[in-house]
């Protein structure tokens, strides 16, 4: 009833918030509209941001640009890493702009705010960047796919593999909020299970800390072989920089629990050399990745991060599923996405579980020393490939209510 009224009442100049043309009451099936909701100007804008939008556009172009004869649309917005802004934009996109799928989101708090909105309105979210493991655990929704990595993968990848390499005593420098603390807890558990010891931790306020010297000094005093950085973005970069400044490295080794290639680029190899990190993607791993990354580099002038590669891969898979299902109805598309394995440069023979988690190989990398780097962006040495089954928690471990049907 109110829908008819809404169409009937003429839009007065007061309606500044309403930017779509006269409201269409139902989802138009002919047009697939993809919304890239990311951080365009904040701490994560380099690792996602405009690069994610570019990746999305590349995926659409590679798919052919059209679905069932109509051009596929890509729109984007900046959520500024604020959960309320993200939620408002998502709501508006779903209610007024007929967006079918929202991708990227990049931070856990924004993803956590948007997922329930999407589920309520039966639209799909493809997460590339957020880390909260519970997104495919007790917070799972039937319309969500968690693509690139999650905190469990990072904790296990870096924690377990580094201990295996000999780094068995740890000290954590942790960002004091949900993400940092959960990453620290997860990694600590893994380290202990692998036979290592946690000698201590220092939790710093985040955001708002730019000087980590106190925390690094505490790490130094502890004598731990490995200093785990349970933080991200600018915090991690500052930690690494100051660790070099204060002579903490190279005597002790840093393990960045969430590090992107753009961070290493910002730091320079001199400061970052020796840093351990787990990544879902590295541009220089094989010919396929190189080919795609060079295309990306041409437009973006920076090599892609795993988040941006994940955005490409997730959208391509989504579009293929829509085509196979013949509709953009969320239930049908989700079923197709979970039924089809993902096979592209990002993931080989990876499957999306009933909980929405894409299980694929991860890689333990170490940052090269300047002398070992032969060309621009030659930053990582892949130390170990972690097969999907070990990289991610199993469906049983995740305990997503949707997946536990028995």
């Amino acid at each position: 009833m109110h829908r008819m009224l809404r169409c009937a009442v003429p839009l007065v100049s007061l309606a500044v918030a309403l930017r779509a043309p006269a409201a269409e009451p139902k989802l138009s099936d002919g047009v697939v509209k993809i919304g890239v909701l990311t951080d365009m100007t904040g701490y994560y804008s380099d690792l996602a941001g405009p690069g994610s939008v570019l990746a999305a556009q590349m995926a659409v172009a590679d798919f052919g640009g059209k679905m069932l004869g109509k051009p596929i649309q890509v729109i984007s917005a900046d959520h500024q890493l604020k959960a309320d802004v993200a939620s408002n934009i998502a709501r508006k996109w779903f209610d007024q702009e007929q967006v079918d799928v929202i991708v990227d989101l990049v931070s856990s708090s924004t993803a956590g705010a948007v997922m329930p909105v999407a589920a309520e309105k039966k639209r799909i979210t493809l997460l590339s960047g957020p880390g909260t493991t519970a997104f495919t655990g007790d917070k799972c929704t039937p319309y969500n796919v968690h693509w690139t990595y999650n905190n469990w993968a990072l904790a296990n990848g870096t924690g377990r593999e580094v201990v295996k390499q000999g780094g068995d005593t740890w000290f954590f420098v942790t960002a004091d909020y949900v993400f940092g603390r959960s990453l620290e807890e997860d990694t600590a558990k893994v380290v202990k299970a692998a036979g290592g010891k946690v000698l201590g931790y220092a939790r710093h306020p985040s955001p708002g800390t730019t000087d980590f010297s106190s925390y690094l000094l505490q790490a130094q005093a502890s004598g731990a072989k490995i200093i785990g950085l349970a933080n991200a973005g600018g915090d991690t970069v500052n930690c690494i920089k100051q660790a070099a400044e204060f002579g903490v490295t190279p005597k002790q080794t840093l393990a960045g629990l969430l590090v992107f290639i753009t961070d290493v680029n910002a730091l320079g190899l001199d400061a970052a050399k020796g840093l351990y990190l787990t990544t879902a993607f590295y541009w220089d791993m094989n010919d396929e990745t190189r080919k795609w990354s060079k295309r990306f580099f041409e437009k973006h002038k920076k090599m892609p991060t795993m988040v941006q590669a994940g955005v490409y891969s997730s959208i391509l898979h989504y579009l293929k599923a829509v085509q196979a299902a013949g509709t953009d109805d969320a239930d049908a598309v989700m079923a197709k996405m979970k039924a089809t394995p993902v096979n592209d440069f990002f993931a080989k023979n990876a499957t999306i579980g009933p909980d929405g988690l894409l299980r694929h190989d991860m890689y333990l990398a170490q940052v090269k020393a300047p002398s070992d780097s032969k060309y621009p962006w030659d930053y990582y040495k892949i130390v170990q490939t972690i097969p999907a089954a070990q990289a991610f928690p199993s469906v049983e471990q995740q305990k997503c209510p949707l997946a536990v049907k028995k």
Binding site: H2, L5, R6, V9, L11, V12, L14, A15, V16, A17, L18, M40, T41, A77, D78, K82, A83, D84, V85, S87, N88, I89, R91, K92, D95, Q96, S108, S109, G112, A113, P116, D176, Y177, V178, F179, P205
Partner: protein, 315 residues
């Protein structure tokens, strides 16, 4: 037209616009405007009428939002009780902060309120039940009067509109009461008010508590509308935003802050695609308002009206 007639017409116009608003604009936007308009109006009681600039009002808005969120989501309280709980907590905070802050005036007062707001921010970040960076998400809207589900945007809007009108009416009555007059006297010449025998501290404290309470109401309603509470509700930028709304709309006018809230939110909404230009333009508007537009939109309009209709009668 007598002043009284103008006021009556203004009320009618406001209610009329409020009633049709959700059909003209996106309902969630309209609800957001109402909540922040109430917040700004409550803030104005302190700034425009008592002459006290508080830089920490976000603490009341945010604390109420979180408490209401928790009450509705985790404690399962009905909607009205949740809103009441949030408002009550904000009032209590207002009493405590106010008692300590009003001992000082001017910039010191502003800094103390900022300090207290930062403490609240810190507590919100640290306490586990607030969800920290993620915020308190998935707050159910519940049912009005236990009967009418508030899930649909239109019903939720009218619920918030009622809340707004209630708060606004209370503010309006306060401003026009003898209490309000004494506040204005204190703002203009505190020593004289003291010499006339008024317990200035008590008046200031009452104004502070009332302002905090209604800011809390605004925060509680906002939590119900947007269905979550986040750190930006307690951040000092929010405190700065409400100062801008009040200044832009017109300090010391009844409708000014609401108009200011509408303008600022519309600006932010329209400029959202332009990233940081929002900040630049907000800042520029601030600067322009302070330099040449100190009376604010409503203030300027009121002056224009007064100048045109000198004497009060119009032909």
């Amino acid at each position: 037209m007598s002043a009284r007639a103008i006021r009556t017409w203004a009320w009618i116009a406001m209610i009329a616009i409020g009633l049709v608003a959700p059909y003209l604009v996106y309902p969630v936007f309209a609800m957001n405007v109402l909540c922040l308009a109430l917040f700004a109006s409550a803030f104005n009681l302190l700034l425009g009428y008592a002459g006290l600039l508080s830089f920490g009002h976000a603490a009341f808005l945010g604390a109420a939002a979180y408490v209401t969120g928790w009450a509705l989501r985790d404690a399962g309280l009905p909607t009205e009780l949740g809103v009441l709980a949030g408002t009550a907590v904000a009032t209590a905070l207002g009493a405590v902060f106010g008692a300590l802050a009003i001992r000082r005036s001017g910039i010191y007062f502003a800094m103390i309120t900022l300090g207290f707001a930062q403490l609240v921010y810190f507590l919100v970040v640290q306490m586990p039940w607030t969800g920290g960076e993620d915020g308190l998400q998935g707050i159910p809207r519940g049912k009005a009067l236990g009967l009418i589900p508030l899930d649909r945007p239109y019903t939720a809007y009218y619920f918030v509109f009622v809340g707004f009108l209630a708060g606004f009416w209370l503010l309006h009555r306060t401003i026009r009461s003898p209490f309000g007059h004494v506040l204005r006297a204190i703002r203009e010449n505190e020593p004289r008010a003291l010499s006339l025998g008024y317990d200035v501290s008590r008046y200031k404290l009452l104004a502070f508590v009332l302002s905090a309470a209604l800011s809390g109401l605004a925060g509680s309603l906002k939590a119900v509308v947007l269905q979550f509470a986040s750190l930006s509700d307690v951040h000092w930028h929010r405190s700065g935003e409400v100062v801008l709304m009040t200044l832009l709309g017109g300090m010391g006018t009844v409708l000014g802050p609401s108009v200011g809230a509408l303008v600022v939110l519309t600006l932010e909404n329209q400029l959202a695609d332009f990233g940081s230009w929002v900040t630049v333009i907000t800042g520029a508007v601030f600067v322009a308002s302070v330099i040449s537009f100190r009376r604010g939109i409503v203030g300027e309009v009121r002056d224009m009206v007064r100048r045109s209709f000198i004497g009060g009668q119009v032909s």
